[in-house]
């Protein structure tokens, strides 16, 4: 009997909570930790947000088919995809950058203690299968004084579609004409290499295989204390990825396209880390349900202003001010 009484009391207490606004989102896995943190904090303002990190492709499909209130993607939608959305629904799909991340090259060369330096062409050459040895002249030239072994390079890439792969291939296709033929996407037709699942799979493969090279998210490398290499940026500087250099990459791209599908790989700044990327929330410009509309707008404004102060704790990089200002205009368009 007592149990029933308690159950009724609990149900009664839970009822006002059920009257809260409920939002559903799905998509990118890379920003999922910060999104979960944001959503759990924002729940105190009466908005329950349920987010499923099912992958960017799933997020794009979900928002296209209207099964979620908002999507999330690690890669910007191209003009054709945005037009398809408008043709189908009659209103726009807004792309709103939330945080900045980066991909870093990791490798296993036990005798090499110094952090290796990579040029864009060297990385592209390795991933194209043209540079096959660690003591290749391209790598030696960038690393004077480092005793590179005469060892075969074992190339490792992500096996599943991933925003990290998009960022990495976007960078390679910008800096190397040979890679442009392979192209950029969440998964591509890799000329060489072994596919490993997830950041942990890539890291595990590299730990086991001497002479291996791969790429992982900066956050993953930092949290797991993986040593990673420097990459030469557009200004010719070899830059180590960290919050400052990735932030510099975001800040140095001042020309913002109207749809905010900004690519910040190979950014021009002197201190900019070149393999950096935004991640986006995808929100329709028209939301019928007034309550939901207010909730989404409120959350988005909070996330790009107050919410930004929390991203550093999880090793994400906050948005530059210019992007925040541009986003506020976009958020105001949601009707």
């Amino acid at each position: 009997m007592k149990i029933i009484q308690i159950a009724v009391a609990v149900a009664a207490a839970a009822l006002p909570a059920a009257a809260q606004v409920q939002l559903t989102g799905a998509g990118a896995t890379f920003p999922a930790p910060i999104y979960q943190k944001w959503f759990s904090e924002y729940a105190s303002k009466g908005v329950q947000i349920n987010y499923q990190p099912i992958g960017s492709g799933g997020g794009i499909r979900g928002i296209n088919e209207g099964t979620v209130d908002f999507g999330a993607s690690d890669m910007p939608l191209d003009a054709q995809q945005l037009k398809n959305f408008k043709d189908k629904h009659g209103y726009d799909l807004l792309m709103l950058p939330t945080v900045v991340g980066a991909a870093v090259p990791v490798y296993n060369l036990p005798r090499v203690t110094a952090a290796l330096r990579f040029t864009g062409d060297a990385l592209a050459g390795i991933y194209l299968g043209k540079i096959t040895m660690w003591n290749a002249p391209e790598l030696k030239a960038a690393n004077p004084g480092v005793n590179l072994p005469a060892q075969k390079i074992v190339v490792v890439h992500r096996s599943e579609g991933s925003g990290t792969t998009f960022c990495f291939t976007d960078y390679l296709s910008k800096v190397n004409a040979g890679w442009a033929a392979v192209g950029k996407n969440t998964s591509v037709n890799w000329p060489v290499g072994i596919g490993a699942k997830g950041n942990d799979g890539v890291a595990g493969m590299i730990r086991q295989q001497k002479g291996a090279i791969g790429y992982v998210e900066l956050i993953y490398a930092v949290n797991n204390h993986l040593p990673y290499g420097l990459v030469r940026n557009k200004a010719g500087q070899f830059v180590k990825a960290d919050i400052a250099s990735v932030g510099a990459a975001a800040a140095s791209v001042t020309e913002l396209p109207p749809d905010l599908g900004i690519s910040i790989t190979d950014a021009p700044g002197k201190d900019a880390y070149p393999i950096s990327t935004y991640t986006w929330l995808l929100v329709p410009s028209k939301i019928e349900d007034a309550q939901k509309r207010q909730a989404i707008k409120g959350f988005l404004k909070w996330a790009i202003t107050s919410g930004q102060s929390e991203v550093g704790a999880l090793d994400y990089v906050p948005l530059p001010k210019a992007v925040v200002a541009a986003e506020e205009k976009q958020i105001a368009r949601i009707q």
Binding site: I54, G55, S56, G57, G58, I60, R61, Q81, K152, V154, S159, E160, G161, S162, G163, V182, G183, K184, N185, T186, S187, V188, N189, W190, G193, I194, G195, A196, K197, G201, G204, M205, Q208, Q209
Partner: protein, 323 residues
């Protein structure tokens, strides 16, 4: 009860029961219930096929049969071909069975015929536990335990003695067809052992006694009398193992290397159908890309049916010849 017993048969013989009577008797209800259950399974399978077929239409229209023979998988150029994945699925499953069948049947014979009953029960319990281990655990064990073992112990031996064979040539990076097949064989062996043991135990004791009585040794009785008697059930267990091997996703993707290439060498990385679907579906954008992945699912479905049918025909012809 005892008095009514001789009366009953006469009633049945005199007038066959009507439908209502049979319904009341439970026969018809049992028939209907079991029929509905059987049809449900068939309907579910049919719905899966229909759904796969409909969603793979864009890919079928774009590529047709060429999908099965092309080995390009390029999401950027929107060119998709299934051949490397079909090759990987077939190769790893076949190799896994090649290892697991002798191992499994021999283990089952030991457990059913040779081992003392208490030891047999204990071992059987442990083996059945193996079948319940989630495949991601097998994958992790594969990466962190089996792959280093293969690299440091098995591969040097294979290269030394069989290095002239094309299947044992090239560099070995750990993840490969060979690793995937070995992990799969460990995963499917419990199915063969567990089912085969039950089947062997079900062979009547009289058969063994008769063989022993005419002077057969214990092994002769097992090999020539018990095993042929149980062969249908053992083959059934192999089919079960084959189905598991064809569809296994997680453990395979962790150790196969996820590279859509067709090479003769077992040392090189490859890919399987189930693995590529699991890896790429979540992030696939674009109608043709998603549709091609679903088409791959349909291909796997078809492949399973074809392989099962061929295996069944093979078994049928060989058993008829021996009989």
């Amino acid at each position: 009860m005892a008095t009514s017993f001789p009366v009953e048969p006469r009633v049945i013989v005199r007038s066959p029961r009507t439908f209502i009577e049979r319904l009341r008797g439970g026969d018809q209800i049992a028939l209907l219930t079991t029929l509905v259950c059987a049809v449900t399974i068939i309907v579910v399978v049919a719905l899966i096929v229909v759904e796969l077929w409909m969603n793979s239409q864009p890919a079928i229209k774009a590529f047709g049969w060429h999908f099965l023979t092309s080995s390009t998988w390029d999401p950027n150029a929107e060119k998709f071909g299934a051949l490397p994945f079909i090759y990987g699925t077939c190769l790893t499953s076949a190799l896994a069975l090649l290892i697991a069948i002798p191992l499994g049947i021999a283990a089952a014979i030991f457990l059913a015929e040779m081992a003392p009953p208490q030891l047999s029960n204990l071992l059987t319990f442990l083996i059945e536990l193996l079948a319940a281990v989630p495949s991601v655990i097998y994958g992790l064990l594969g990466i962190f335990v089996l792959v280093p073992l293969i690299r440091d112990c098995l591969v040097p031996v294979l290269v030394k003695f069989f290095g002239y064979l094309p299947i044992f040539q090239g560099d070995f990076y750990g993840v490969s067809f060979l690793s995937a097949s070995l992990v799969l064989s460990v995963m499917v062996a419990p199915f063969i052992i567990s089912v085969s043991r039950e089947v062997l135990l079900a062979v009547p004791v009289e058969q063994r006694e008769a063989a022993l009585a005419v002077g057969a040794t214990k092994w002769e009785a097992t090999w020539q009398i018990v095993l042929p008697n149980a062969s249908t059930g053992i083959i059934g267990s192999v089919f079960l193992a084959l189905a598991r091997a064809l569809g296994e996703t997680m453990a395979v993707t962790m150790v196969i290397g996820n590279t859509p290439k067709i090479t003769a060498s077992l040392f090189s990385p490859g890919y399987s159908i189930a693995a590529v679907i699991a890896n790429e579906f979540a992030e696939a954008s674009g109608r043709l890309y998603v549709s091609s992945l679903i088409f791959l699912g349909l291909v796997l479905f078809g492949l399973t049916i074809v392989i099962n049918a061929v295996a069944r025909i093979l078994v049928l012809t060989t058993t008829q010849r021996s009989a």
